[in-house]
């Protein structure tokens, strides 16, 4: 018998708070502030205090990947931001190549 629990799709109408993003990554809110500072995650109103920040699924994906890079390779968040940008660009280009049936 399957247990039914409350299911939410993380989206624009149901975003994550900074504390939730931090908890999902096993980190604290201060770490999320650093992610915002280096631009790994995006906030719309930079002047708002962290408790008003809202994050999307993409932000969670980037934050989890940044956490792994930090832990496994000991990279700083600035370098993690660059690695993530390059990684996502590679994935985007590979998808374009596939979409054109080239590979």
């Amino acid at each position: 018998m399957a247990t039914v629990s409350v299911t939410t799709a993380i989206s624009a109408s149901q975003p994550l708070a900074a504390s939730e993003l931090a908890h999902a990554c096993g980190a604290d809110t201060e770490w999320v502030v650093q992610l915002v500072e280096v631009g790994i995650v995006q906030i719309t109103a930079a002047e708002a205090p962290p408790e008003h920040w809202r994050f999307s699924s993409t932000d969670l994906q980037y934050a989890l990947e940044a956490r792994r890079l930090e832990r496994d390779f000991g990279v700083g968040l600035d370098a993690a931001a660059l690695i993530l940008d390059l990684q996502h660009e590679v994935r985007r280009l590979k998808a374009v190549i596939r979409a054109h049936g080239l590979r």
């Binding site: 399957a2 247990t3 629990s5 409350v6 799709a9 994906q61 956490r67 792994r68 496994d72 590679v90």
Partner: protein
């Protein structure tokens, strides 16, 4: 359950220093990183080395693992039938370091979870630690139709409990997941309270499922847009036509192929991609399919076409 040799996974000796563990891991992680690796089993290898690294770079886990490996070697456990002996971890205490997210654990093997999952929790309990349970992460693969229309899917997770002898055992539990219409690849679905149990009476963590969409027979996904190859005849491409096209939400629509359409032309059906605040589009990539010249009538028709377009040279740009 199979006993895992974490040292051979990283290609190192048991005497390897912390620095050697780190170097071996980083080298292999670059080799098998799914974004750059050419190896066919890169994803699985990456999981294995991540798991080995998680144990061997942690002094306490490594010492306990070494002690267990010795006991297994002495006891001669047959491979593939491994159960950790009761109290195998007595005297060791595991805890998560400040840089140790819970993020990867859901992908690790049963062997890893049975040794370290419960032990981490007991370690936390011994220290009178109070905190909400860790969030867990897993992935769910769904069909494109389910992503577009929404669906209800069941997933099975392994949860760990201690039996009467205090040995970790696995219970599988089935969760019913409501997938709302319009989810896209990379989006997370959160199941409240389905993560790790809380410490010291605090609530459980949540389970995050990352949505993956299974490859589809007709449509390819790129961000929120969908792509489909639309074959047309030379006559349809040259003269223009109304053709029927299946759409992913079900049903068929009529599409106008413009006159003198060339192969590779992209037709856009606005808003027929993945739903969302800014819905994606459905792109049709035109592909001209030649009718075979396998009858007298067809051969004649091709000959007439050749005569009618004698001045047309498709190799003009090659200078021949």
């Amino acid at each position: 359950m199979e006993f895992k040799d974490y040292y051979s996974a990283l290609g190192i000796d048991r005497t390897a220093s912390d620095d050697e563990v780190r170097k071996a891991y980083r080298k292999l992680a670059r080799k098998y990183h799914p974004d750059v690796s050419k190896e066919p089993d890169a994803e699985k290898r990456m999981r294995d080395i991540n798991e080995a690294n998680d144990v061997l770079r942690d002094k306490e886990k490594r010492a306990a693992y070494d002690a267990l490996a010795d006991r297994v070697a002495r006891g001669g456990h047959p491979e593939g039938d491994f159960q950790p002996p009761p109290g195998w971890d007595a005297g060791f205490e595991f805890h998560r370091g400040p840089n140790q997210g819970p993020a990867d654990h859901a992908e690790f093997s049963e062997f890893f979870s049975s040794l370290f999952g419960e032990a981490e929790r007991r370690g936390a309990a011994r220290r009178n630690y109070r905190a909400r349970g860790e969030d867990h992460h897993a992935a769910i693969e769904i069909a494109l139709e389910d992503a577009l229309n929404g669906a209800e899917r069941e997933i099975t997770l392994r949860a760990q409990e201690l039996d009467a002898q205090g040995r970790p055992t696995f219970k599988t539990r089935t969760l019913s997941v409501k997938i709302p219409p319009g989810v896209h690849p990379g989006q997370f679905i959160r199941l409240a309270g389905q993560g790790m149990p809380g410490h010291g009476g605090e609530p459980a963590g949540d389970l995050y499922l990352e949505v993956r969409i299974a490859p589809h027979r007709l449509y390819r996904i790129e961000e929120r847009d969908l792509y489909m190859t639309l074959p047309v005849t030379p006559a349809e491409a040259a003269l223009g036509a109304q053709v029927k096209v299946p759409v992913p939400t079900g049903g068929v629509v009529e599409v106008t192929v413009p006159r003198n359409a060339r192969s590779g032309l992209k037709l856009r059906l606005k808003g027929r991609g993945l739903a969302g605040k800014q819905p994606g589009d459905l792109y049709l990539l035109l592909e001209i399919a030649l009718p075979p010249a396998d009858s007298e009538a067809a051969r004649k028709a091709y000959e007439q076409l050749a005569q009618a377009s004698a001045s047309f040279n498709p190799r003009h740009h090659l200078g021949v």
